[in-house]
């Protein structure tokens, strides 16, 4: 018995000896992001190895704000992400509800097409989307351009379909017998029951919008209409640039999401893991 528990102990130690350096290595870029964001540029350029934060974050932030209106860009990013998340959750759960709860003509085809788009590279729709939004609709550099085209997502619909189809149908049949309208059943019975799944979906969608880069880079390229990642991206690669400022921007984009991640880890992980349980 004791040899068995000794073997367990040895295995446990080996596990931690392997995993701890790997975990530290994985945290290292994030740690360095924070350290750089607090260091004056001459500190970043100095030959010594500096692994601890300093107190220059505000100076760096001021440098960043001088180079680009980062606060303005952040406020665009926040507004767009909030609106996008609300609309997308609504759209996605309505579609998921229809697919989970009704028999209708063309259902199999709708599901097949949605599944098909998962393996289709986004590049295929990018150019026509751009031509349509920028040239045909003349909507470049607007919020609508940032919010509406990305509203379609396939994994979210499959996730919500799964969520709704796991609910016992007696719940809804009782309301139907009472003569309650279908949209009221959806809004007031189904949606509240799906709250944990909606939370997971909302977090993933918010994050996707917050971090979205390629589409906002293309469609909202005017300085006053840029989202925060795009504004930050314009500084990377300039010859005369404050690296501390860029790192301060990176921290402002990242740390709030890390806090949300820690607080809502369960929903976060559920949302991502849902990709696997189609």
């Amino acid at each position: 018995m004791s040899s068995l528990s000794q073997a367990r102990l040895a295995r446990s130690i080996a596990l931690h000896l392997f995993l701890t350096p790997l975990a530290l290595l994985w945290l290292f870029p994030l740690w360095m992001m924070v350290v750089f964001s607090t260091m004056p540029d001459n500190g970043i350029f100095s030959p010594g190895i500096q692994l601890l934060p300093h107190d220059g974050f505000l100076d760096n932030f001021n440098n960043l704000q001088r180079g680009t209106n980062f606060v303005g860009a952040i406020s665009i990013s926040v507004s767009v992400a909030v609106t996008y998340t609300f609309l997308s959750v609504l759209l996605t759960s309505m579609a998921g509800w229809a697919l989970a709860r009704y028999q209708f003509f063309g259902k199999g085809m709708v599901v097949a097409i949605i599944l098909g788009t998962i393996t289709l590279p986004y590049a295929v729709v990018l150019i026509p989307q751009f031509i349509m939004v920028a040239r045909d609709f003349q909507l470049a550099n607007t919020w609508v351009a940032l919010i509406v085209p990305p509203l379609f997502n396939s994994l979210g619909v499959l996730f919500m379909r799964q969520a709704f189809s796991m609910m016992p149908h007696e719940l809804f049949d009782a309301a139907r017998v009472e003569g309650v309208k279908e949209w009221r059943i959806f809004l007031f019975v189904a949606l509240p029951l799906a709250r944990p799944m909606l939370a997971a979906l909302a977090i993933i969608l918010f994050l996707a919008s917050w971090n979205n880069y390629l589409w906002p880079l293309l469609i909202n390229s005017q300085p006053g209409a840029m989202t925060a990642p795009v504004a930050l991206g314009t500084l990377i690669g300039l010859t005369k640039v404050s690296w501390g400022g860029i790192m301060a921007g990176a921290v402002m984009l990242t740390v709030p999401m890390l806090v949300v991640f820690v607080l809502l880890q369960r929903h976060f992980i559920a949302g991502i893991a849902a990709g696997a349980v189609k």
């Binding site: 931690h16 590049a123 379609f152």
Partner: protein
């Protein structure tokens, strides 16, 4: 259940509207655009204009080669690492599980621009922390961004850092759906942990691994931000240019939509081909 066409389509309408306008039509449209000469207005139908150029364009083959090279090395390394992470995070022997989960899963929330900036700074020749640390153990500093091989390595390291945890989350969910009694029976039969991993875990996890691999391949196929920002527009000298970056340059710098659409469809064709091969290789033997 009786059919409820009207109700169902009322719920589906907004979603299908967005889908039709911003996906279905663009899928058709970019296919058509790829057969048009778009350098001059009005565009004209010229079926071999872009596709003919594509098959003779060294820039395209360079981007294709780089993309496939990243794909072939980075995706297997990352998926293997993600499997290791998921299995170890799932071990009942692990203490302070939350801290380890945080370390591996945190990159999932980090945006492409933020992490590209950090990696670019970390791998800087003169003042990057990586070279400083290498130097402190006696390794001469490496000029990461002036040579193709190390520049490619940085891209692959960055992408792996960003996405390994994401895949580990999906794999961990898959692991947790494997019933415990399978392992208990194996342990009673004195099957070693290593053998359990290869003969129980991997086969049962196969569908999830395939799912992760397909998603990763499609993602890496379109790699854009990392070569755009970390290696400065695919540098050095196009050495890290990917299909995604070539599409961006052709479509949105040169405004050559026809050629860019042909590149996009090449990517789609590759993604579909690789996905099919993957599904075929891992099919259930029946």
């Amino acid at each position: 259940m009786r059919t409820q066409n009207a109700t169902a389509y009322r719920f589906l309408a907004p979603y299908l509207l967005i889908f039709s306008v911003f996906w279905v039509w663009p899928i058709i449209s970019s296919f058509l655009i790829s057969f048009q000469a778009t350098r001059t207005v009005p565009w004209r139908f010229a079926p071999t204009f872009n596709w003919g150029r594509l098959i003779g364009d060294p820039a395209f083959f360079n981007a294709l080669k780089n993309t496939l090279l990243i794909l072939v090395i980075q995706v297997p390394v990352m998926i293997s690492l993600a499997i290791v992470m998921a299995v170890l995070l799932n071990s009942p022997l692990l203490k302070a599980r939350g801290l380890y989960r945080f370390a591996f899963f945190a990159p999932v929330v980090v945006g492409e621009v933020a992490y590209s900036a950090v990696f670019r700074l970390m791998f800087n020749l003169d003042f990057g922390i990586v070279n400083k640390l290498l130097n402190s153990v006696g390794v001469p500093k490496i000029d990461w961004f002036s040579n193709v091989t190390p520049a490619m390595a940085v891209i692959m390291i960055a992408v792996t850092w960003r996405w390994a945890g994401y895949n580990a989350i999906i794999l961990l969910a898959g692991l947790q759906s494997i019933p415990d009694d399978v392992y208990e029976a194996a342990t009673l039969d004195r099957v070693s942990k290593v053998k359990q991993f290869f003969y129980i875990t991997l086969p049962l996890l196969k569908p999830v691994i395939v799912f992760c691999a397909v998603l990763s391949i499609i993602g890496t196929m379109q790699l854009f931000t990392e070569p755009f920002l970390i290696t400065e527009r695919g540098g050095p000298g196009g050495g890290t240019e990917t299909l995604g970056l070539l599409l961006y340059r052709q479509g949105f710098r040169s405004l050559n939509f026809g050629y860019a659409s042909a590149i996009a469809y090449t990517m789609a064709g590759l993604a579909i081909a690789i996905t099919l091969v993957q599904l075929w290789l891992t099919r259930d033997p029946k």
